[in-house]
């Protein structure tokens, strides 16, 4: 009995979500979300990506619980240096007798922090530049578009390197440098979207009602550009992780003793031939996490931006 009513309840909810004429905005929104979610679930690779990303977030939250050792304080330097992966140290220890597994778990916090901060800094810059250039047009557009092109003209990693060289090494500066180099594609996307909607009738209606340019851009243009920029940011997240790891590897990102994965690989380089796990394990972590973001980004693109998937 209970089962049957649950089933009918589920069917009822489904019908409510898929209603052709939703009674409220919330219902319409939830319905659209439900359809997207279903099509997202139909893509197994994207689900794998989502699982990896959620696992990363859980690792970052529960790092203290999951880690078996301290990420900073090493064990006995005489007996516990460079131990191969085994029962006590799951992924082995490094030259300071620190447990590599615990360091990787704690490193997930740094990785997540870099990804989130870079996106939070870069996406608004790109959105602002792109929508303002596209909406206002004229010389503003010329100047902002040229600026975007100039930043696009540098290979991203090289420009980030030069910025870090100027700002000084460190994870905060690495975040700033990556954010400064990553926004141009977002500006391009936002500008292209803005150009297609700036002359549409609903924008003209707002303008006739006396809405200011700032109001139109913020309230009516930005929301419409948001989904394609979000897709692009998600697709770039793997790139952000790889760039941050590259900076860390070159000694310009996170500084020791922070358990940043790229820096850990650099530290393991000296023991590559005989104690391969010191360099190998953090690299696997980077690979899995970037793969997760790439799969998730691909899936999101297929759901949110079906035009671009082909």
């Amino acid at each position: 009995m209970a089962e049957a009513s649950a089933a009918s309840g589920r069917a009822g909810r489904r019908a409510w979500l898929l209603a052709a004429e939703p009674a409220s905005r919330t219902q319409a929104r939830l319905g659209r979300f439900y359809v997207s979610w279903k099509s997202f679930l139909g893509n197994p690779l994207a689900v794998v990506g989502l699982v990896i990303v959620i696992a990363l977030i859980l690792c970052a939250i529960f790092a203290n619980v999951l880690a078996t050792h301290s990420p900073y304080g090493g064990g006995d330097l005489r007996t516990e240096r460079l131990i191969a992966p085994g029962e006590k140290f799951w992924l082995g220890t490094d030259d300071q007798a620190r447990d590599i597994y615990s360091r990787i778990i704690h490193g997930s916090r740094l990785t997540l922090m870099v990804v989130v901060l870079v996106s939070v800094i870069a996406a608004p810059i790109g959105l602002a530049v792109g929508t303002i250039a596209g909406y206002l047009g004229g010389w503003v557009d010329v100047v902002l578009s040229r600026l975007t092109d100039i930043f696009l003209a540098f290979p991203r990693l090289v420009l980030a390197l030069a910025f870090v060289a100027a700002l000084g090494p460190g994870i905060e500066n690495a975040i700033i440098a990556i954010a400064v180099t990553i926004w141009p594609p977002y500006a391009r996307i936002a500008r292209a979207e803005t150009l297609t909607i700036r002359n549409s009738e609903f924008i003209q209606a707002v303008r006739l009602q006396g809405g200011s340019s700032a109001r139109i851009i913020l309230k009516h243009v930005v929301p419409l550009c948001l989904s394609s920029v979000i897709v692009r940011v998600t697709l770039d997240m793997a790139g952000i992780i790889l760039t941050a790891a590259g900076l860390g590897f070159l000694g310009l990102g996170a500084q020791p003793p922070l358990p940043e994965w790229g820096a850990m690989i650099a530290a393991g380089r000296r023991f590559l031939i005989d104690q391969w796990w010191v360099a190998a394990m953090p690299g696997i972590a980077i690979f899995v996490v970037s793969l997760g973001f790439n799969l998730l980004g691909d899936g999101l693109r297929d759901v949110l931006d079906p035009k671009a998937s082909r």
Binding site: R146, D149, F154, L157, V158, L167, L250, F287, S290, L295
Partner: protein, 356 residues
């Protein structure tokens, strides 16, 4: 054709002048854009050079110098001038190829770059060759058998290529193929015992060794090149095969393919002569762009393999806060990048008759 012939010759001449004018205007606009971008590159490096927390004057005179010595050195460096004038001086210096001296090597930065750049070109060219030769057939087959095992493999190759840190893959390659299997030579460009046998002519070691008949040197250099080159080749392959697949899928859905098949042309000819030929135009630009991307990839690869190219020069200078060298190398890579982008644009316009 017949329409044009029916008109009077004067009109044709006028039309041609107008067309020429239009092309000339487009070219001028294009050149102006490139010039503005290059000026922007210089401006960006200039600004980066100004925000460095290291005081360039103190670096020269030391912190015990008297105030007047300090001021004089500051004046000599032109740091007391207004920023815009400093920028002007910087621009005119850069235009004549004067990036200042490297603190680390004590050479002018330009001659350092001329010394290191060929090694990077060698590496990136080798990588692009692999990416093109393997990537295009792979992409074509993936497109023909869309959804097959091969298609899935191409997809996975691409995904891994976009997700794996290049420096880590390089280290693992060294561990496996150099340390464990001993199939290839280790880091560096050449064994020490082969140094100074070949006199640099083109600067490209492989080419020079071949031209001078030093086959042993060539073999040694090749065994050094094969691992980092294949690594970059893999990244290039991941990109090129993915793009080939999507271009080919696009071509194969066109009507002229149906027409060709209806005419009874063999499937082999339809794919390799008709479809690929049309996909080749955007592919050329993709190959050029992937070459440009390898310049970036070479920064990390060269560090891992101690490959004496501009990437290694850049990272070495970075770690020693040698700003002249850093900015010179950054600007060189940036200008090469812009140049390759322009090349891909121009190639597209020249090769595709529809854009004329």
């Amino acid at each position: 054709m017949s329409l044009a012939a029916a008109r009077e010759p004067v009109a044709i001449g006028e039309e041609r002048t107008r067309a020429l004018l239009r092309i000339g205007w487009a070219v001028a606009r294009f050149l102006l854009t490139v010039a503005v971008t290059l000026l922007g590159l210089v401006a960006v490096t200039f600004i980066i050079g100004r925000v460095v927390p290291i005081d360039p004057v103190l670096a020269i005179v030391g912190d015990r110098a008297s105030h007047s010595t300090y001021l004089k050195a500051r004046q000599d460096l032109g740091l007391d001038l207004p920023l815009i004038e400093q920028f002007w001086i910087y621009c005119s210096k850069v235009l004549t190829g004067d990036f200042g001296r490297s603190v680390l090597t004590t050479n002018p930065v330009l001659s350092d770059i001329a010394h290191y750049f060929p090694a990077t070109i060698e590496l990136a060219t080798f990588g692009t060759l692999i990416g093109t030769i393997v990537g295009i057939p792979l992409g074509v087959f993936a497109a023909i058998r869309s959804g097959s095992i091969l298609d899935q493999i191409v997809r996975v190759v691409g995904l891994v290529g976009y997700s794996v840190p290049i420096f880590w893959l390089g280290l693992m390659g060294l561990l496996l193929f150099y340390a464990r299997l001993d199939w290839v030579a280790g880091p560096g460009m050449l064994d020490i015992s082969y140094d100074y046998i070949v006199t640099p002519v083109t600067g490209l070691l492989l080419v020079d060794a071949l031209m001078q008949g030093q086959f042993e040197v060539f073999a040694n250099a090749f065994s050094h090149l094969i691992l980092p080159g294949s690594l970059l080749g893999y990244y290039s392959l991941a990109y090129i095969s993915r793009m080939t697949r999507s271009f080919m899928l696009n071509e194969l859905s066109q009507e002229y393919i149906v027409a060709a098949r209806v005419k009874g042309i063999s499937e082999f000819r339809v794919i390799w002569r008709h479809a690929l030929r049309n996909a080749a135009v955007p592919l050329v630009t993709v190959i050029v762009l992937s070459y440009a991307a390898l310049l970036e990839g070479s920064v990390l690869t060269e560090t891992v393999f101690a490959w004496p190219g501009i990437g290694l020069y850049l990272t070495n200078s970075l770690q020693n806060a040698d700003m002249n060298a850093v900015l010179g190398a950054t600007l060189t890579i940036g200008v090469t990048f812009v140049g390759l982008n322009v090349l891909s644009d121009v190639l597209y316009r020249v090769l595709d008759p529809r854009t004329r």
